[in-house]
Symmetry: C2
Subunit: 253 residues, 2 copies
């Protein structure tokens, strides 16, 4: 097992930020300033082309840390943030730009490339979770949630399907082609975001992915607007959803 | 114009309840205990077979009054609550029970009967709103919202389409057959609830009604579960939605 090594620490406005590395993968752990008592952990997946400390990640972390008292961890996906791009990354990114410039649908490239990244990222996430649970302020039996949209869903769906420690998840904005089969293995409560007028993901495709989750408790939030117009208030909703499910007393505690 | 006459008044747990009559139609107005300052008004429509003070209405009113500081008014729909049933009501209700007992879809009866009731109820609601706006604690230029699911949507969609004073609405759980044409006339922000596994309203029918709203800002909340299993947390969400849209300062104030 890889140990977690903290590489830096800072604090601002009621949130402590610690950079870490696990098995060569760089991550960030945001926490309440006084982490004496154990608190639930939310793993967050960033979107394609962004990184662990993008404004969306930092903003959602703030909601979960200062609003809910949770820990929040994000790692850079392969080829993203502080990690080098492979030849394969470069090729797929070039193909994505080419498809965009040619006015072709980008779905096929995104689905294929994200599937490749997910195969690499799921074991990295599981090793990271092992290491995070060694920290006394998180612990091995505390509640764990997941929150990731776009590429964060492409990685998160197979992760949550494989990982029984994750007991609630927020996903959204992806295609069912690869993910629907994994979604059928997921039974934990799910909140799922889609954009009703998404110019990349057909409406029926988004609905099919939501439909695939085996979860007894699942909620779809569909908002008018295009792919990039997911309303800010859905982050508040995700935080409330995670608070509702992770703040319950753990069994046996 | 019909004046509003209060017929009783009581208070409990931070909410004042006043029964009223406007033009022979009985209603209830729930308000914050100190109604010296003007506050937004939410009109709520009750479901079929229930009435203005059903537990769902009183519970939602409490969220809006004590949580948001709003006034909330509900009137009995024709043939409901304290109002007499007509021969037509009796005939349609008998037909609904017959269809249910025969295992036939109840949609056609509900759609037809609710359309009939909406034609009666819309002018009653508009007269009630006229009268409520004469009250100094509500006023003629304050924000007005609407919140009604099931039959409350069958009446609310044509009401909001006809009524420019209503600037935000929560609807849900109805068929598009009659309502989609009216929904196309609605431009105000809408939150719309459906049940993903509704045994009465086909999934495609619910999605078609949501799709019909012309509103630039609209949100669909689809939850797993059957018709009667709409989660309680959607009432909290509706209150937040109405607070977000009605608490904005009115133009010119």
């Amino acid at each position: 097992m890889h140990a977690l090594q903290f590489t830096s620490r800072s604090s601002s406005n009621g949130m402590t930020e610690r950079d870490f590395v696990v098995g060569g993968v760089p991550g960030v752990l945001w926490s309440p300033p006084s982490a004496a008592d154990r608190a639930p952990l939310v793993l967050m997946g960033h979107g394609g082309g962004t990184h662990k400390k993008s404004p969306a990640m930092a903003g959602r972390a703030r909601l979960l840390v200062t609003g809910c008292g949770f820990h929040v961890a994000v790692i850079d996906a392969p080829g993203h943030g502080d990690r080098p791009r492979s030849e394969h990354d470069e090729r797929e990114i070039a193909e994505l730009y080419r498809a965009r410039a040619a006015g072709e649908p980008e779905g096929p490239v995104v689905v294929r490339y994200n599937d490749h990244l997910a195969r690499l990222a799921v074991p990295e996430w599981r090793a990271t979770l092992d290491a995070l649970q060694e920290l006394p302020e998180i612990g091995a039996d505390g509640p764990v949630g997941y929150f990731g949209i776009n590429m964060g869903t492409a990685i998160g769906v197979p992760l949550v399907a494989a990982e029984p420690r994750i007991t609630a998840a927020v996903f959204g904005q992806h295609w069912p082609d690869v993910l629907a089969e994994k979604a059928k293995e997921i039974n934990v409560p799910v909140e799922f975001d889609m954009q009703w007028d998404d110019e990349h993901i057909p409406r029926e495709a988004a609905l099919a992915l939501f439909d695939a989750f085996a979860s007894k408790e699942k909620t779809l939030h569909a908002n008018s607007g295009r792919h990039k117009e997911l309303p800010r208030f859905e982050a508040d909703s995700a935080a409330r959803f995670l608070a509702r499910h992770l703040s319950r007393p753990a069994a046996g505690s």
